[in-house]
Symmetry: none
Subunit: 214 residues, 4 copies
DNA sequence: TATGAATGAGCATTCATTCAT
DNA sequence: CATGAATGAATGCTCATTCAT
């Protein structure tokens, strides 16, 4: 392990975080040891501790990052269309894409949105981003209702939370049972997800007609 | 008919499993040590290994148990009413009740249904029970569609899976964010769940009218 | 390392404690690792943790033991003579003997008597024994004063503490500088100690005449 | 006369040593890390290693310094009075003052005097200063004896060593048990020390009368 | 000279698991 | 069948020290 050239500290943090993310994904956060992470990143364990105070700090950073990324994706989705239907489709597309690209980050973000604040090393930043995501979706629901595209009388906060729970449950099932879904229904994970997204949309849509899903 | 002979051993297994379940619930699977379990069950640690090859085998048994219990609850729900709406309400009620009584078992069952069958110690029994649960719900959807109560054209298997994913995501969010939900929406976990259940139902119902949720 | 036969747990504790005491003496408490101790005792490190919850518990036990032993030695000394002079000589003899036999224990006891209570794992037992030792010496001073053998008007508690501090300082210097003392004064550690004991005695004696020390 | 050249380096050493001394005092030698020291001194850790080969070298320097300071204090004391009694009082006063001002240095000096010279980094300089201190006190005893103020027949070297051991034990007990002493005897550490000094003085004084201490 | 960067060698502690009895 | 006893293999974390620049 030759001594590295002068590289911005941020790059080291990034490299370590990337290695950690991969390992967390592969074997879970608890099972990925600091030794593993160091080895995978090509540093000594002690060096990892130079860049991260804790295993927790690593986890926190990854969590925050995943939340931020999720936030970006959602912003992009909401900016890309005006109708609720159009926006919803973009949301689902972004979510699916995000999940395909960073499955660990995605899962982490979803799980984190469900947790309480303060558990993390950062100063509640993770919580803040979570709130921003919530308000993004709340806005989507509110505007949709105003336009008459979404059911009136939906209570924004509970709806959003319920919707979010359902959505995340759907996506995680699609991931973990992809193989089973394929063999049992003949659908790819993506197709299955679209089917599910449609189902969920009907739960909030003003009127989609009585016709077929899909 | 030598079945009786093994009975005592079964009782020991049961006692140990019960102690384990309580501890898993209390502190999580990883944090509950075999020492803890043995002590709580009133056996020596070595004895636990007489009845269970592994910690994993214990977890597997508990998982299987939780699936069976979930199956029972769902059977009861589907037997208790004829209309889809009535059945759905019973399903939700049973689920909520089950969750309230055995949160750990409940979570385990949901996670198992969402996760891969895994190299479980049992001979695929867990998987089998999972399939039975699926076919239970598939029947519910099929019959509902035949009666015109649920949307026609729903594909039973994908619908059921999507529904299941959404449902479990909803319930788990309701649990993990109970406090947040309470403070942010003023709803109790139970009220929130009912709200969410209703939302989900609209996704599959034939026609619930355009009116307010709840 | 063959599995040991059934031996009373106390014996294991004793063996481990003995090994620890030797190592603590040899390289100091901090530098003696649990690995060292285990190896020296002929057990695996994990086994050491079966018998002692902590490194601290080991240290505490050793400390308590050393205090008890010191207490015994002092009792023996005070019982062995009636006059203050005679008792003092016995005290010094016992102290010297104790130090020769268990230098680590001796040092620990002296250092501990100076510390505050409650720092230890035991329930203040160490502190209690310390107090008993103090009251032993206080009695010695009081009786000596009553008989007119020791200076009247000595305040028992401060005297005892001062005396104890001085005595321990003397003995520890005698140990750590034994070689230097030998080469610089030609005295053995024992001779030097006797010389010092005499000096200290004059500090409390009623009248030793103006003559020579020794 | 190239002496001036090295001056800057000496200043760096001094700054680092000062920071180290403060930290050693605050948290103990073992607990003060090189990182702490570097940070406190305002240098990088690597720079500390430019000026000090070792943590040990730092400790050694500090030890030597503390010995030198002690030497100075003792010189001042012996110069300040002519009678043994007066000198003794000054010695005690200086010692107490030194201890109050630099508890860590003081303790270090005492411990060093009590401990082996060790494989110190300096070329036996610490030992030399120790010898100088010894000869200072030896002179005090010798002159006192010649004047008839101190007991005749005292062997200077053993007496001095014994005295020194006793004195240091007394002072260290006064420090570590200050709280206990306060609560048990009502004396402040200073009062207790004076009481103890008096006691010790009687051990070497020619005749102090049979009266009360203090 | 000064330092940013990196690390080897530990350390106390934990726990699932094994075996002789 | 039950278990007391023992342990191998980790695990997160620390710190004095080195070296290329």
């Amino acid at each position: 392990m030759a001594r590295r050239k002068k590289q911005p500290a941020q790059e080291h943090r990034g490299a370590i975080a990337a290695a950690a993310a991969a390992l967390f994904e592969e074997k879970g956060v608890a099972a990925a040891t600091m030794d593993d992470i160091a080895r995978a990143a090509g540093y000594s364990k002690a060096t990892v501790y130079v860049y991260f105070k804790n295993k927790d700090e690593l986890v926190s950073l990854l969590t925050l990052e995943s939340m931020r990324r999720l936030h970006e994706h959602l912003c992009r989705a909401l900016d890309g269309a005006r109708t609720s239907r159009g926006r919803y489709e973009l949301i689902c597309r972004e979510l699916t894409a995000y999940h395909a690209k960073y499955p660990f980050y995605f899962k982490t973000a979803l799980e984190t949105i469900r947790l309480e604040p303060g558990a993390d090393t950062d100063g509640g930043e993770t919580f803040t981003v979570g709130e921003e995501i919530n308000s993004l979706l709340a806005g989507f629901l509110r505007e949709g209702a105003q336009r008459g595209e979404l059911r009136r009388g939906l209570e924004p906060l509970p709806t959003l939370l319920a919707f979010w729970g359902a959505l995340s449950g759907l996506i995680m099932l699609a991931e973990s049972k992809a193989e089973y879904i394929q063999s049992a229904t003949g659908m790819s994970a993506g197709q299955f997800l679209n089917y599910g997204f449609e189902l969920l949309y009907r739960g909030v849509a003003a009127d989609v007609g009585g016709g077929n899903v899909q």
